[in-house]
């Protein structure tokens, strides 16, 4: 089988893994080596469904000894199977990279015999890529649950980012749908990655070399920047050591959860995400709307629509937790554990807490501005920078690219409300919800999803 035929099988087999970022590490070009890595990453193409293509995302092999109920590559599935030779995949990565098709390699695999045997093959591929082909670009490697710690360590020395897929949001769902996987096999490598990164950070700080990051600019200085620079704008504390100095998984780790295959609520999923961020220092939790490709008694029926809107709202909520300092319970409460599908989570929160508004633009803190629908991390910082020069007006906010259509209801500027904004709280709620429901996105998804509930 030539590489084209293998690629056909192994790219399609890998497409359900949603993570495809090449960010989080800066590695300058080096003489004699191929490529570099930039902290913001780069999307080189977009699929017809709008997802970014930044890495050569393939499986090493789609042969799998496991029988996870939701997986198209499960042991019992009748599909074409293929396996890359390590060098073959490494050569392919470099060929694509040199044509500016990709930023690097995203390497995952079915369980080819045992997790250790699979990981050894992946390590060989990355070794060829790094040491023989001198590839200096980005590599994201997937850790197969059950892999020995020493192999996880070797993988982390060759890859920029590691990820261990949690797959399902609860231990019960995991044991029901993935009988060969145990939760500890997933959490163990996550803990190991966190621990090794922490150890390296401590050693680097103790070494006294120039490892500490430059001081962060103030929020006002950030507001004067042209670009968004979104990665800098998080309110979460960041590591004291630059990714460039690290040798083990410098871009950190991430995970993926399948949404809609099991009955966990949004509140449960957001609580879990928050916990993963805190305990394992994850860079991202990815959500993958379950696509019913496999018939199984434990899964939604084949004709169930993809819960695209739920995935979208969960991503928005996740963003709000990482960049706006929202807590999971503020977004989906234990009493109302599902996110509103018609209204974005920030707007839904604002409508539930309308007594906290309007916020006065001229003296609101950054955290208060970030709570206003229509004002993002960039807009909030621009406001902080601009108001130092004098009083602002609604016209000025437009010049700062604040989305006034949503924000105007929740703001006063130098004591004034926007003229088009109703004063009555009930009217604001009615207007805002009607606007959100009329969006093309909501209308299309309502038609696609019908009135079906997830469970």
């Amino acid at each position: 089988m030539d590489t084209l035929a293998k690629l056909d099988i192994l790219a399609e087999a890998a497409r359900y893994d949603v993570a495809c970022t090449s960010s989080g590490v800066s590695r300058p070009a080096k003489a004699g080596m191929v490529g570099n890595a930039s902290p913001a990453g780069c999307c080189h193409s977009f699929t017809p469904d709008g997802r970014c293509v930044t890495l050569l995302k393939v499986l090493m092999s789609n042969v799998c000894s496991y029988d996870c109920a939701y997986c198209v590559n499960r042991r019992q599935a009748t599909c074409a199977r293929a396996t890359f030779a390590p060098r073959e995949l490494a050569e392919l990565t470099v060929d694509f990279y040199k044509r500016n098709y990709i930023e690097g390699l995203f390497l995952s695999s079915g369980v080819l015999g045992t997790p250790d045997a699979t990981t050894e093959r992946m390590i060989e591929c990355l070794r060829v890529l790094r040491e023989e082909l001198l590839f200096n670009g980005y590599v994201h490697a997937k850790v197969i649950p059950g892999t020995s710690p020493e192999l996880v360590d070797s993988l982390g020395r060759l890859a920029d980012r590691l990820s261990v897929n949690l797959e399902l949001p609860s231990a019960g769902s995991l044991s029901r749908l993935c009988p060969e996987k145990q939760r500890q096999q997933v959490l163990g490598p996550m803990g190991q990655i966190r621990h090794t990164r922490d150890q390296e950070e401590t050693a680097l700080l103790a070494s006294g070399k120039r490892t500490r990051r430059r001081a962060l600019p103030t929020h006002e200085q950030e507001g004067l920047a042209l670009g968004a620079g979104a990665n800098r704008l998080t309110l979460r504390p960041r590591s004291q050591v630059s990714a460039r100095r690290r040798s083990f998984a410098p871009a950190g780790q991430s995970t993926q959860l399948i949404i809609g295959a099991t009955p966990e609520t949004d509140n449960h999923i957001l609580q879990l995400s928050q916990s993963l961020y805190q305990h394992f220092d994850l860079k991202r939790v990815f959500f993958s709307a379950y696509m019913p490709m496999v018939a199984d008694a434990g899964l939604p029926a084949r004709e169930t629509p993809v819960p695209l809107r739920r995935e979208h709202r969960l991503y928005q909520a996740d963003w709000l937790m990482r960049y706006y300092a929202f807590t999971p319970d503020e977004l989906a409460t234990p009493e109302e554990p599902w996110l509103d599908l018609d209204v974005d989570p920030k707007l839904a929160w604002a409508l539930r807490h309308i007594d906290r508004f309007p916020v006065e633009v001229m003296d609101a803190s950054l955290t208060d501005l970030l709570r206003v629908p229509g004002i993002g991390p960039v807009g909030a910082r621009r406001i902080l920078a601009a108001r130092r020069s004098g009083p602002l007006s609604f016209e000025d906010l437009r010049a700062l690219k604040v989305t006034l259509k949503r924000a105007c209801h929740f703001l006063t500027v130098a004591g004034k409300r926007d003229e088009s904004c109703p004063l009555d709280v009930g009217l604001i709620r009615e207007k805002v919800i009607a606007d959100a429901r009329q969006s093309a996105y909501n209308r299309t998804r309502r038609m696609a999803e019908g009135q079906l509930s997830l469970f």
Partner: protein
Amino acid sequence: MPGSVAACAAHVSYQLSLARPVALACDASAEGVLAAIGITYLAHAREGQLRLARAEGLQPRIGEQVVLAPSPIEPETVAFATRVLSGFARTVTTGCRRQRDGLCPASCDHRCVYRIALACASDSPTMPEVVHRYVRLGFAQDSRVRTLITDRRVADFDDLARHVLGECEHTRQFVRFSHMADGSFAASFSPSANTIPLMARHFAARMRQERFVIADPRHRVAAFHAEGAKRCELARLDGQLLKALVRMDDLADDEPYVRAMWQRFYRGTSLPGRDKSQRGYDLRTKWMPQRLWDGLYELGQDAPDAPVPARYDGNATDMPRIREAAPSSRREPPLRCSMVSGRD
């Protein structure tokens, strides 16, 4: 004072003394625009007394006198533009807290000045005048100009720079190189701003070990890179050379197969149930403007059957290494053009 610059300033001054409105037509490059701005100062023109306009396609207004600014091909014009730029940098960083604390340029990388390079790369017909008004504001307000982000002049200028920044990102994303028979790589890309000079260094870092060229037929600019070089050489091209570069009809033997693999990979990554009909809007087009689709092989017609290179024929155990396969030791120095206009 350079002769052509001084003569132009004198001419502008004369026209203004007759109370005639003046359009100063300049080359739409950073050097051309900055030199023209310097000339407005030499002519003691006040803001509003004249306007800067692109020389190419200029439409004079009724009663307007058109004065042609000196060409940036002349070294003295470039030197004059450099003086204007360094004067601007000195003015806007005076009193700058970062400058005072010894953090400039290491910390901000002279971004206030880099914005001018970004804005000047814009294709907007109003670009020279927008930059002119911003630079004048900078000279009048010194470092305060950085914080006047709601001022119309700053907002217009930032809009231009932001658009170019977006187009720079498109350049990083969507340039597609082809492997040529001589072992080099070549790409043709037509952005909606003159981004190749701005992004040449990015590609030089990414492809340090390769000999490559990126041609922009729209702006008649190309970046040439020699193997191992840290920078690209930039050149303005004439029609013949441009055609030859863009044609790319001498592909390496492995190129059709690699393109076919890329196309197959791209098609394999798409997920069902999430496209435009399911979403209500076209997310792909939002991120990937259709004007750039022509150069993207993944969106083209099915690639014809291509011969399989030895390294991809499935006998993976004894495949040759890529760097050994490429004739690196026989690579030639980069092409040079007589109209080299500057460096990235």
